[in-house]
């Protein structure tokens, strides 16, 4: 077992007595490795406090990413991870809230929550793991499935154009938006570090491989390393998000504006000082 990762895992996982529950070659395990490495680098560089780290997940394969970690983890309802994370952030404004969500969880079922969380600029950090379909339930079509792709529910090709999460977030005024792919390890780790140090809402979309369903049906390659090579072939680095034949990757937006919890707590403090409240 890798000793760097071992320091951050829970009892049975740290002893090497239990595996992660992902399929062989799944990108979720790689993303968890990047997340742990980013936290480790931040702790060594400038004393990042990970005792106030809260991780909220939805349902799906990506909801199982933080399960081996020894941090505080909340499993929310399907698609409602952002609402629970908003509650945690409002009650404890000095905490660091990270949300792991999949593309079906965040964009299809929790799409309205995503829109309004970005609009309010709640200071939570979202890592969106995009594998282009619903992996856990058996490979059904998702909002991010490319057009004319074959899945279990679209055997003659997908008739719907895909949804670009980064473009949606940029247009709604998110303060940090980036998209990277799993094979680009250094960029992913750097982006997660920037995301954790960011103040407002941050969205990192990470294109990940699902060799069992996405590999066999959508792309047509079932070897995990070949899917990673395919991702490098279809992506272009740019500063404008687009999600078509060529998927653009890179950091799209990075600026700051007042966050929801700051405005909310200033209102609460103002009301308490005025004395016209009933306890």
């Amino acid at each position: 077992m890798n000793p760097l990762i071992q320091n951050y895992l829970r009892s049975e996982y740290a002893q090497g007595k239990r595996r992660t529950i992902f399929c062989p070659g799944c990108g979720n395990g790689i993303i968890l490795g990047y997340f742990v490495r980013a936290i480790d680098e931040l702790k060594r560089e400038d004393g990042f406090d990970d005792s106030k780290l809260y991780i909220v997940t939805g349902i799906g394969c990506s909801g199982n990413i933080p399960v081996p970690l020894k941090y505080n983890i909340i499993r929310a309802l399907h698609g409602r991870a952002l609402s629970v994370a908003t509650g945690v952030k409002l009650v404890r404004p000095d905490s660091e809230v990270v949300v792991f969500a999949g593309d079906g969880d965040l964009l299809s079922i929790g799409g309205n929550h995503l829109i309004h969380t970005i609009r309010r600029n709640v200071g939570i950090k979202v890592i969106l793991v995009n594998n282009m379909l619903y992996g856990m339930t058996g490979g059904q079509v998702a909002p991010t499935t490319p057009m004319e792709a074959i899945t279990h529910t679209t055997p003659y090709g997908n008739p719907e154009p895909p949804l670009d999460a980064c473009k949606l977030a940029v247009s709604l005024g998110a303060t940090y938006v980036a998209r990277w792919v799993v094979p680009l390890a250094k960029q992913c780790i750097q982006s997660i570090k920037e995301l954790l140090l960011h103040r407002g809402f941050g969205l990192l979309e990470c294109l990940s491989q699902c060799p069992v369903y996405q590999g066999r049906y959508v792309i047509g390659i079932d070897r995990p390393s070949k899917i990673m090579d395919y991702y490098l072939k279809i992506t272009v680095v740019s500063d404008k998000p687009s999600y078509g034949d060529k998927i653009t990757i890179g950091k799209f937006v990075d600026y700051e504006r007042p966050t929801y919890e700051e405005i909310m707590w200033s209102i609460v403090n103002k009301a308490r000082e005025g004395g016209n409240y009933e306890a």
Partner: protein
């Protein structure tokens, strides 16, 4: 003069490895090979047969989804 490698061994955990062979395909100097030893998951374990070729890039450790690979380095006193 050839640079001496400080990687002494690359350990693959017999229980944790699930046999995705990302390490075998992604290693830039082809250090790994699929051996005939069967691991606990029921797959042929990858084995670091050519450690003398290793350039210590850490790709296998970074990409391993099950954290089964550990690069064991010497203290750096030799060479």
């Amino acid at each position: 003069m050839r640079r001496r490698s400080i990687v002494v061994k690359i350990d693959v955990d017999k229980y944790l490895c699930k046999g995705c062979y990302i390490c075998v395909d992604k290693c830039p100097t082809k250090v790994f090979e699929v051996s005939s030893v069967i691991g606990d998951y029921g797959i042929f374990l990858p084995e670091a047969r050519h450690v003398d070729r290793c350039v210590d890039c850490g790709i296998c450790e970074l990409y391993c989804p099950d954290y089964a690979i550990t690069i064991i380095r010497s203290g750096g006193n030799e060479a």
